[in-house]
Amino acid sequence: MSVDFVVEFLSSTIRIAVPIILIALGVCYSEKAGVHAMGAEGYMLIGAFVSVVMTIATGSHFLGVVFGILAAALSSAVFSAFAVYLGANQVICGLGLNFIMLGLTSALQRLFWGTTGVPRIEAMNPIEIPVLSDIPLIGPMLFDQPILTYITYLLIPVAWWIMFKSTWGLQLRAVGENPSCADTLGINVARTRSISAIVCGVFCGMGGAVLALQQVQSFTENISNGRGWLGLIAATFGGWNPVGAAGAGLVFGASEVLQLRLQMLGNIQISSYVILMLPYLVALVFILLIGKGRRHPAAMGKYYRKQ
């Protein structure tokens, strides 16, 4: 266990955890306002797909990320039209959205590139922050990452501040706990909820863009492969608090890196499929540990309509 190994392990943990953290942040917003975020996986898929397509089409990573986020925001707006305004079952609609996105992205990918697969795109190079990256241990771990990772660092406290210190955050939490009470105070419940759902879409779309542009550097069928659900669990474990959710996302990232490292060692007696199970088992143990300590927002999943 050399220092290099630890630094390398932790920096790849951060790299892999970033999409999960972003999704967890989004889920915090949606679920704190009382809307199940079952569609996280779907937003992530469409975000990843559109960002890759636009990056290839325009040659600019920036435009790719922007369009990926826009596409995910658009799909979350459609979801909130059904689930928030009309009052359709949020769980089933979210699941349905995941399937729509899976079918859409896989089919379009084959239409655009046939059987050859999506070409690899240029990686987003890590940027060393001048002074900070010289700090021993922490420097190379935290401050030698691609740009979107730095944005994620900033988004965590910003998300926390907006949720717990701003007026809109208070309204959002009120809507998730007791919508009829919030309504009597003059808060527009449906609008607050749908904005939170769209914020969730934005975060998940960005998560998808990070996954596709920074990690995989391409698009493959079902690229998210369960990360959306891990983000959902991370938000639950973090008690729907952005900071806690980010911490839980880091743990999932670490378990995924551990799984990759164990697979690379090769000569281990355990089946590689059991190792692949690791993040999910960690999630289950997490859930078991937190138990009743994490009460979900009282009105989560409940449709509210102005009387």
């Binding site: 089933i92 609609c93 349905g96 399937f99 959902l232 199970m277 289950l284 138990g291 009743k292 009387q307």
Partner: protein, 392 residues
Amino acid sequence: MIKKERMVKKEKKSFLMVLLDFSPIIGAVLGLLIGSLFVMLWGVSPVTFFKELFKGAFGSTLAIGSTLNRATPLLIIGAGTAIAFRAGANNIGQEGQLFVGGIAAGAVALLMPSLPKGLSVPMILVVAMLFGMVFSGIAVLFRVLKGVNELLTTLLLNYVGTLLLSALVNGPMASSEIVSYPQTDTFGSQFLLKYWPNFGYLHSGIFIALAIILLTGYYLWLTPGGMRLRMTGLSPLAARTSGNNPTKIFVWSMLISGGLCAVAGAVEVIGCNDCLRQEFGSNLGFDGLAVALLGNTNPFGVLPAGVFFGALRTGMQAMQRSTGIPSVILDLIKGSIMVFIMGGAALKLYIESNAKKKVAKAGEKAHTEAVEASAGTGSPELQEASQGGEEK
């Protein structure tokens, strides 16, 4: 008098409301339409799409046989999911439970190869049921002991079940021969379901599925237990006040639901395969969930819905072979159907509550007028209160 009123009410029902009564069918039609418009990107017209789909699913005895074979596990999963949903339990772990059922079939066939012919298949079904109950029991334990919503746990268990199957067929249960795909040794012939080669290889699992549909339908609608279960789903509070234990019913419905999904997996393994393969029926679980919704979470509705999805899957695969349209479009159609069914159901409730609100408003207005008429000027407070109510 009462009868007359009822008749008047029925006549007043608008066309839209009648249409919304059939929201599952509308959802299916809209989903198919979206799919047919989407394939225009491949230069295939919607008419050709429907023609090819129908031909692929029902065009020959072989096609009909594979449609029914494909529908068999969906019917069983649909019935099992219907029980959970009717009880208000959100079991979305069908995929994992299905694979656990497959593992059960493999375990029985490989560990007890000398079972006599009459016992072999029932043994597999019973063991699969038990395995499925234990697997969904994990989610039940989490919920009962720790209050964790079963949505998250069943979803995670899907991944665990899938990887467990992969680990087993690549490890302890792997075939002794060299095979191209991860699988177990071939089962003894007494473990396999009878099938008819001259009727599109249809296997007898369809009769197991029909029996399960009949049993679950009978249970849900014609027994006191089924009534209690449905009542709990509609209102846990009402169930509790009338002396039922919602927790008990939740546990029971989740276990039965998980058990039935596992049976579906076992039937798929011993019907369509002769050994346990890695990911032998991926997508079956969530297809089954969509089938339950399309069948209005009613086992008898699940029957046509299951055949519809079986036909869709078979037809899409045939179309992929003939026109090159990827069969993943089925996921798009499936998702749209789910969203539209839920949207239709919600729209119906929305319009109904609008109508109720109108009636309530009219009543309030009449009440205010009556109060004003009887009390003349009346007390200002009362008037203010009633006006306030009206504005709202």
